[in-house]
């Protein structure tokens, strides 16, 4: 039955199928969070959180609103330093082996290595071009050829180049919501981070724009380590390699995403992902 054979041959062999799990085991931990307690004033927001985040994977944080996902995400690049009442109780976070709360850490440098994309896209009221090179200008880079190169590279990296290459001088605010979010991702890429933190990056987007950002995340994980907070469990299932489920400031369960969605270890996780919560 040559017909069947013809179709099969063009496909990868069955044995070589990679479920993604094999790769997962080999990736090294880039971010290590150990016994981390975190407070806003008297109120404790994170309780004894420990987890490893692997290099060049997408890790999703899920859990009901207020469970501490954004708080933990912001701790990874010390964005919480900007909140006056915020303080660490105990524990530590290392990035690439370095304790990021060590006094000697330069937070500007840290936030260059660990970029952030927010829920609400927030382009500056400047041209598309200037939005992308913003971080580079702050670093004192002025050479046009270098900036031009970065604009093209980052807009391509953010899957936006084809849509805007003929109007780089128009305002970033003139773009659609989905385009603005990809512009913010391009801006984050410009300073060449290793890690991208994304806090509900699609929550303000329609399904098509969401799909585009998800596709982008899928391509970015070849080069970046991505941590994404999402209230959309289907999105976590689609884009992530690992999923961490939080409840009331505690990490309940973290595992390979297919494991979490096919057979979670904890009853609370199962109740949450199957919509039987509360």
């Amino acid at each position: 039955m040559s017909l069947v054979t013809d179709k099969i041959i063009s496909k990868p062999k069955i044995e070589t199928r990679d479920l993604g799990l094999e790769m997962t085991e080999n990736n090294r931990s880039l971010i290590e969070i150990s016994n981390f307690d975190f407070f806003y004033g008297e109120k404790q927001a994170l309780f004894d959180v420990s987890m490893d985040i692997k290099e060049r994977e997408v890790t999703a944080f899920i859990g009901p609103s207020g469970c501490g996902k954004s708080t933990l995400l912001r701790c990874i690049n010390r964005m919480n330093d900007l909140i006056e009442v915020a303080r660490i109780g105990s524990g530590k976070i290392t990035v690439n082996g370095v304790d990021i709360y060590d006094d000697r850490v330069d937070t500007i440098e840290l936030r260059k290595r660990v970029g952030m994309v927010f829920q609400k896209s927030n382009p500056f009221p400047k041209s598309i071009y200037e939005n992308v090179v913003y971080g580079l200008r702050i670093q004192g880079i002025t050479r046009k050829s270098k900036l031009d190169e970065a604009v093209e590279r980052c807009l391509k990296g953010a899957a936006l180049w084809e849509e805007v290459k003929d109007r780089l001088d128009t305002s970033g605010l003139s773009l659609s919501g989905g385009q603005q979010q990809r512009l913010c991702i391009a801006r984050a890429l410009a300073v060449e981070p290793d890690i991208l933190l994304m806090d509900e990056p699609c929550s303000a987007l329609d399904p098509v724009a969401t799909a585009k950002v998800e596709e982008l995340i899928h391509t970015l994980k070849d080069r970046y380590t991505i941590v994404i907070v999402t209230h959309n469990m289907q999105q976590a299932a689609r884009v992530s390699d690992r999923t961490a489920f939080f409840y009331l400031g505690k990490l309940i369960e973290m595992n390979a995403t297919d494991q979490i969605f096919m057979s979670p270890d904890k009853e609370q996780t199962e109740a949450y992902i199957s919509g039987r919560f509360g």
Binding site: M1, R17, A237, D258
Partner: protein, 221 residues
């Protein structure tokens, strides 16, 4: 827009095709082993059953994973249902081929009257044609081909009944034939079942392509 995970559906499709190809090959080789009294070949068929079982297991895992992670709907969802059902039919086809090979070995150890095999090649040919057509209807997404398979199992059923009568006569005429002819009764039944599985697959493909039940559409055909 095509999403990156849609390739996983293609993968499931191609595993089903691979499984179909292996099942067809097993049936053909089982027939050949019987006609050519080839014990080696019979052994080979029995061994290859594990490969078919493994592919079914893999398809099951892939389908569960896809359903868990990708929220499939409409035709994508039907493909996954069909993959589960058709792979189960193909696994059964592999079992039948393996049964045929096992019984062939027993027959070869004791000899068989030539008449006892007479209708089997025709049954095998019909069953394999049905199986190949049902798989082709899947690969080429031809609902008319899937539709045309309905009713084609009747000739196989008839041959099986005739075979049974003939085998009973052979057993009556010479008690030395009883054990080998009994094996042939089962072999004949195996081919009939293979045709049934082919018909099931055709129904499944028809459902995949049209979202309709072939049984309902052809009621009274």
């Amino acid at each position: 827009m095509k999403r990156y995970f849609h390739e996983e559906l293609e993968e499931i499709r191609s595993h089903l095709m691979l499984m179909g190809e292996k099942a067809v090959e097993s049936v053909k080789l089982a027939m050949q082993a019987l006609l050519e009294s080839d014990i080696e070949l019979a052994n080979q068929v029995m061994e290859s059953d594990d490969v078919i079982d493994d592919i079914e297991k893999q398809i099951d895992d892939e389908v569960v994973r896809y359903v868990s992670l990708r929220a499939p709907v409409a035709r994508d969802l039907r493909l996954l249902f069909v993959a589960i059902k058709a792979s189960h039919d193909l696994e059964r086809v592999g079992d039948e081929a393996s049964n045929i090979a096992g019984r062939t070995k027993k027959i070869l150890a004791q000899g068989l009257p030539i008449d006892a095999v007479a209708r089997v090649p025709r049954m095998c040919e019909l069953a394999i044609n049905m199986l190949e057509d049902s798989l082709r209807s899947f690969i080429q997404e031809e609902e008319s081909l899937a539709y045309s398979i309905v009713g084609r199992d009747r000739e196989v059923d008839t041959l099986n009944r005739e075979n049974f009568k003939e085998l009973v006569e052979l057993m009556k005429s010479d008690s030395a034939n009883v054990s080998a002819c009994t094996e042939m009764v089962f072999i004949s039944k195996s081919f009939e079942r293979i045709a049934d599985h082919a018909k099931n697959i055709a129904e499944e493909v028809f459902y995949l392509l049209t979202a309709q039940s072939l049984k309902e559409v052809t009621r009274g055909k």
